[in-house]
């Protein structure tokens, strides 16, 4: 068992290090025959807000080579309806459920978090922040989420890892997920030859190219925060999951790449087994940069 919230009164124990990322796997019932949930460490739900959110309009997917941009606006029916529709399903899943809450306003977040207290098999909250969240608001949101009694994981936007990860760790977050996807923009090509690029799509970036960016974030922060770190971003094989765990990640989330290959979740869970991260010294040695002497003359 891996406890990713050892300082929390309940803790948050996982049988294994692999879980789906918020927004990629629904609420637990989408792949009944393609994914064996019992091989996973946890189920992370799609993002949920206090109130209902409506889907964005217009084109919402743009593919560019090995990467793609998704923009949905995180539609969801609101926490009350989600709990009503899924609490029974969650109670009977073979793995603990971590509910991803969209964190905008502390008062609302506290209400949403309190609705998750005492639900059978709901074992933690993961917070999603907007990219522009200030460090102060992020801490207020963390405190609000802790008004419920569940361990709280903060999923930190890619652009803000260096600023928010240590700050939230200092303020007692139970674990940190590095990282929510970068914001990105792609042109939407039109058929009008006069105006071939009439629109751009801004959204979250997914794809295998996130992986080297994730490893960079891990190499800077895993093992240095005093709390567990969960790796998320373009992981697509057991080897890549192990490369994250070696750098100190306690667990890994598989993101939108599982839409193409849902069985990736099980393949990675089987492939990594119950791995041991490198020691701090080993990790430092593995990352040491090799220079041939600095400026001379």
């Amino acid at each position: 068992m891996i406890d990713i919230a050892p300082n929390h009164k309940y803790g948050l124990s996982l049988k294994g290090p692999v879980m789906p990322a918020a927004g990629t796997f629904g609420f637990g019932d989408a792949y009944p025959n393609l994914v064996d949930l019992s091989l996973l460490g946890a189920l992370v739900t799609n993002p949920v807000s206090l109130r209902r959110r409506r889907p964005a309009r217009g084109r919402r997917l743009a593919v560019h080579r090995d990467a793609f941009v998704v923009h949905t606006g995180w539609p969801n029916p609101g926490v009350r309806t989600v709990v009503r529709d899924f609490r029974e399903i969650w109670a009977h899943l073979p793995v603990p459920v971590i509910v991803h809450l969209l964190a905008t306003q502390p008062g609302e977040l506290a209400q949403a978090a309190s609705r998750l207290s005492g639900l059978s098999n709901v074992a933690g909250i993961e917070l999603g922040f907007t990219t522009g969240v200030s460090p102060r608001l992020a801490v207020d949101l963390l405190d609000a989420a802790r008004e419920g009694d569940l361990p709280v994981i903060a999923k930190v936007p890619f652009e803000r890892v260096d600023q928010l990860a240590p700050h939230l760790a200092r303020h007692g977050v139970d674990a940190v997920t590095l990282m929510s996807p970068p914001r990105a923009v792609l042109p939407l090509l039109s058929t009008d030859p006069q105006m071939p690029i009439a629109r751009y799509l801004r959204g979250r970036l997914y794809g295998r190219a996130l992986f080297p960016l994730l490893l960079n974030a891990l190499s800077r922060w895993a093992g240095k925060l005093g709390c567990a770190v969960i790796a998320c971003g373009g992981i697509a094989s057991p080897e890549e999951a192990l490369a994250c765990i070696n750098l100190g990640a306690a667990a890994v989330q598989i993101d939108a790449l599982l839409w193409r290959d849902p069985w990736l979740l099980n393949e990675i869970a089987r492939g990594v087994g119950a791995p041991q991260p490198l020691t701090k010294t080993e990790a430092e040695a593995a990352l040491r940069e090799e220079y041939n002497g600095e400026e001379t003359l």
Partner: protein, 261 residues
């Protein structure tokens, strides 16, 4: 909502030009019904929907864009597919066999209705194009199909649009009366048009049939669908009749979901 998701290995039989698109044929154990789709892995970071435009026991044909990676595959290549997925056209829910079926399509979306050309003893098809040159030759349709051609400029057949009203120049006939006549005649009508037209088409159906049964009129809706199982919310849209996910609630919807209140 929970449903089994089929995972199959299809075999590419051929890929050939069918201007302006290409046609690919895939052999497959469980072939898709009209209006359903498969999510195929052609090497990109997301799967792509294939909509059947011809179906038989051994597989199906679908259209892809020119330059699509499928057009480069050799016959015999294995293609990993999820599906068939989604809710297709529903022709047999009323307990008795359908005798009369009406199909209405933009010329661009017409292939999506092709699997329905012989779905009932009497099938009528209304095709609308911008101008005459776009209309496929009548020899491309089965003789059994009762064909009505409509153009937006009146250069051939009736003057469109299908949902339009008003008078026509001398010597040209408006589509309106003919469309209404066929809507009264049919037991079901299946649409494959630009979705922006569905609200007006829904209003037309409502006006002609007064209290249409659920699924009397059905409309095909295209969308990006990276997951196909309802988890990614890329295909989630707000219709006047409620919020839906095209991948699992569609791609074929009751046209009346588009009716603006």
């Amino acid at each position: 909502m929970s449903r089994v998701v089929r995972h199959q290995t299809a075999t590419l039989r051929y890929a050939r030009p069918a201007p302006p698109l290409w046609e690919v044929r895939l052999d497959l154990n469980v072939a898709p019904a009209a209006g359903t789709y498969l999510l195929a892995d052609f090497g990109g970071p997301v799967r792509e929907p294939l909509y059947p435009i011809e179906v038989d026991d051994a597989g199906f044909v679908a259209n892809v864009a020119r330059g699509h990676p499928a057009t480069q595959l050799l016959p015999g290549t294995s293609v990993d597919v999820l599906g068939p997925l989604g809710r297709g056209f529903r022709l047999d829910t009323t307990g008795y066999a359908l005798a009369r079926l009406l199909l209405i399509a933009d010329v661009g979306s017409l292939p999506l209705l092709r699997p329905l050309y012989q779905a009932a003893p009497a099938v009528a098809l209304i095709v609308e194009a911008t101008t005459r040159a776009q209309i496929p030759s009548p020899t491309q349709f089965p003789a059994s199909l009762e064909l009505t051609l409509v153009t937006r400029d009146g250069s051939s057949g009736y003057l469109g649009p299908i949902e339009g009203n008003g008078s026509a120049p001398v010597g040209i006939e408006r589509a309106g009366a003919r469309v209404r006549e066929l809507l009264l005649w049919t037991e079901r009508v299946c649409f494959a048009c630009d979705p922006e037209r569905y609200p007006a088409l829904a209003a037309l159906v409502k006006e002609v049939r007064l209290q249409p049964q659920p699924d009397f009129a059905q409309a095909f809706l295209r969308s990006s669908m990276p997951c196909g199982v309802g988890v990614c919310d890329v295909c989630r849209v707000v219709l006047p009749g409620g919020e839906v996910r095209v991948c699992v609630d569609g791609p074929v919807f009751d046209l009346l979901s588009f009716l603006e209140l």
